[in-house]
């Protein structure tokens, strides 16, 4: 319990740090973001709306400490200000409509990559020097060297444009009404395949090698020899004795890689025009929509922190040593 409380405190601290960073950035950087932003946008803003923006970005040079607490208060109540490029929609509304798609894409690809990568790693370590062990790692490392978005471009070119077998963009077909029915779900799944596939391909190698290397270490433990001496079936030794004890580092790196997957999903979304946070982020960047950018940064950070906390919960379940400590 104390472990979880400590972690929770740490995540809150991390979130506070990113809010503070968000607050300080426009104030520390040279130039006036509000003027830059307004000169780019086509929207007609009321004078008092411009004034609100200036206060939020801190360009009016008001006292910094009260402004900081006001900012903290606004963020904690979920008020990220107005989006400039999609004026007058509030930032939180824009994000709320995009976040589910990013979560769907990110989580699907993460889960597939973790399961597949760990299984491959277990098999590779079990048959050291076998076919899987000699062919898969270098191949996957090579694929993993490609930038996420480039592989996405390649997949889009081959399967979308040349062969025409996969949908090229968006999360579901135009004209389809979102709803909980088979047609819609199948359509969403079809649109998910290519983006998820590219993320899985790029991240698979890391999972496989990580698992393989830990497995090799566990394989030389005495309890494996003991299990063998007892005459247990190899299959059972591999999964229940060796792999089970090699799982822990994988769980830890899963927490770490959630942030990484979100980043990869951002770029992949841009290529596939997938309506997630990343695609919107590109729009925000192009429209110099600073409030939207900041809001998205905070939302993604919060999502990553929550995901990490969930991983911690799993960790406590898996490793009894943590529970006692």
């Amino acid at each position: 319990m104390s472990f979880l409380l400590r972690r929770l405190g740490f995540y809150l601290l991390a979130f506070w740090a990113s809010i503070t960073l968000n607050f300080l950035l426009p104030r520390l950087m040279p130039g006036d973001p509000v003027t830059r932003m307004l000169s780019r946008s086509q929207q007609r803003l009321e004078p008092q709306q411009v004034e609100a923006l200036r206060t939020m970005m801190g360009v009016d040079g008001g006292p910094i400490i009260p402004e900081y607490f006001a900012y903290l208060g606004r963020i904690l109540t979920g008020d990220f200000g107005m989006s400039i490029s999609r004026f007058p929609t509030p930032v939180s509304e824009v994000i709320a409509s995009q976040l589910p798609w990013t979560l769907l894409l990110g989580l699907t690809s993460l889960i597939i990559a973790v399961i597949l990568g760990n299984l491959l790693g277990i098999l590779a370590a079990w048959r050291r020097g076998g076919f899987l062990d000699s062919v898969a790692p270098p191949l996957l490392v090579f694929i993993g060297s490609f930038p996420y978005f480039w592989l996405a471009m390649g997949a889009l070119y081959i399967f979308g444009i040349n062969m025409g077998v996969a949908p090229m963009s968006h999360a579901f077909s135009v004209g389809l009404v979102p709803g909980f029915n088979l047609v819609f779900i199948l359509d969403v799944a079809a649109h998910l395949i290519l983006p998820a596939l590219t993320i899985v391909l790029v991240s698979l190698g890391g999972w496989m090698l990580g698992m393989r290397n830990t497995m090799i270490a566990t394989n030389s433990e005495d309890y494996i020899l003991m299990a063998e001496a007892k005459g247990l079936r190899p299959h059972r030794i591999m999964l229940n004795y060796a792999a089970r004890n090699a799982m822990l580092p994988s769980v830890t790196s899963m927490g770490m890689s959630i942030g990484f997957i979100v980043g990869g999903a951002l770029l992949t979304e841009v290529v596939f025009a997938y309506p997630g946070v990343g695609y919107q982020l590109l729009g925000a960047v192009q429209g110099l929509d600073y409030p939207l950018m900041q809001g998205m940064f905070l939302t993604i950070t919060a999502a990553v922190l929550i995901a990490n906390f969930l991983v911690d919960l799993v960790y406590v379940r898996l490793d009894p040593r943590v529970r006692k400590g």
Binding site: L13, A14, A17, S18, L25, M29, P30, G31, P33, W126, R127, R128, G129, G130, F142, S145, F146, P147, F149, W150, L151, M153, G154, L156, Y157, I161, N162, N213, I216, A217, N219, S220, E221, I224, L225, E228, P234, A242, M256, G259, F260, V262, G263, G264, L266, L267, V270, V271, L281, L282, V285, Y290, M293, Q294, M296, F297, I300, T301, V304, L305
Partner: protein, 324 residues
């Protein structure tokens, strides 16, 4: 740092207690380099990187003039005149790729090296001084590790004035934490060794112990971290520029891909425009990863491939028995 650093020879002569550490470090480093050159992965990786560096240096000779100069010969397929074809703006793709190598490699290596240096400083001082300083540094490191990298990159780059300097600074800000954590845990284990205690007792200053006693003994970890940081930086730079957040006027692999998408070459099926830059990024990253695995294999004998499974380590007993 002491004045001895510029001339290790005098350092050895003046200070006999230092001799063993310096020699040990030197032997370690040369041995590591020699084994590296006997390792197939390392040789392959190093040669690929070398080829790219040479091509990048030769770019002004091979493709003189401004490679982004717009000509009327637009979107032509690869031919003898343009080996990799031209972009929709009529720029030679091979020329853009070679010129792009200059900025991409420079930014990647620079950001990677700086991130590693920051990581070494933070990790070493945290591990050496311990207590309060370590607590604070670890906390900051962990916060930076947890905050998702690319979104942070994006908002940092969006607020700072565009340019290569900004890209490097932003990459270092988001990239140092990973290396700091590795450095700290490695330095912690060395901190407890007897020779560090001996150096402490003989009254050496903290900075000297860190640089002369601890750092040389974690050379291989520093090396893998450096390689990892460079790989990360090259990828992150490409992503950032692909989003249009770098300096779109410089030529790099990332901006090449940015222009390729914004000119719609993907939708028009002009594969020759976006393939070379992506392939170049992948090849360099792959080459660096090869070096990384080579260093791993050399320093961790367990990971070495059993060429002929003669001696029975427990790991192979299990696997072999199962194969029978």
């Amino acid at each position: 740092m002491s004045q001895n650093d510029t001339n290790p020879q005098t350092a050895v002569a003046e200070d006999p207690t230092d001799e063993s550490a310096v020699n040990r470090a030197r032997v370690n480093t040369t041995r590591l380099l020699r084994t590296l050159l006997r390792n197939g992965k390392a040789v392959a990786g190093l040669s690929i990187i070398l080829v790219f560096i040479i091509l990048a240096l030769l770019a002004p000779l091979l493709f003189p003039g401004d490679p982004s100069h717009i000509t009327s010969d637009g979107a032509s397929t690869p031919s003898l005149q343009h080996l990799l074809g031209t972009t929709t703006k009529g720029q030679d793709v091979l020329g853009l790729t070679l010129w792009g190598a200059r900025s991409s490699l420079f930014v990647g290596f620079a950001a990677g090296i700086f991130s590693t240096i920051v990581g070494v400083l933070v990790g070493l001082s945290g591990a050496y001084f311990g207590r309060g300083l370590d607590e604070v540094l670890s906390l900051v490191t962990n916060v930076f590790l947890l905050v998702p990298g690319l979104p942070l990159l994006v908002i940092l780059a969006a607020f700072m004035p565009p340019g290569i300097g900004t890209v490097i600074v932003v990459l270092v800000i988001t990239g140092w934490a990973g290396s700091a954590r590795v450095m700290r845990s490695q330095a912690m284990s060395i901190r407890g060794k007897d020779y560090v205690a001996a150096a402490l007792v003989s009254g050496e200053r903290p900075l000297r112990i860190m640089v002369r006693e601890i750092l040389p003994n974690m050379a291989s970890v520093v090396m893998t971290t450096l390689l990892g940081c460079i790989i990360g930086s090259i990828g992150a730079q490409a992503g950032l520029e692909f989003l249009g957040l770098g300096d779109v006027n410089t030529i790099s692999w990332g901006t090449n891909l940015f222009w390729a998408t914004s000119d719609g070459s993907l939708m028009l099926g002009q594969w020759w425009i976006f393939v070379p830059s992506g392939l170049a990024i992948a090849l360099v990253a792959f080459a660096l990863a090869l070096c990384n695995y080579a260093v791993d294999e050399i320093t961790n004998p367990r990971l070495r491939r059993p060429k002929h499974a003669t001696k029975s380590t427990a790991a192979t007993t299990v696997a072999r028995k199962e194969e029978k």
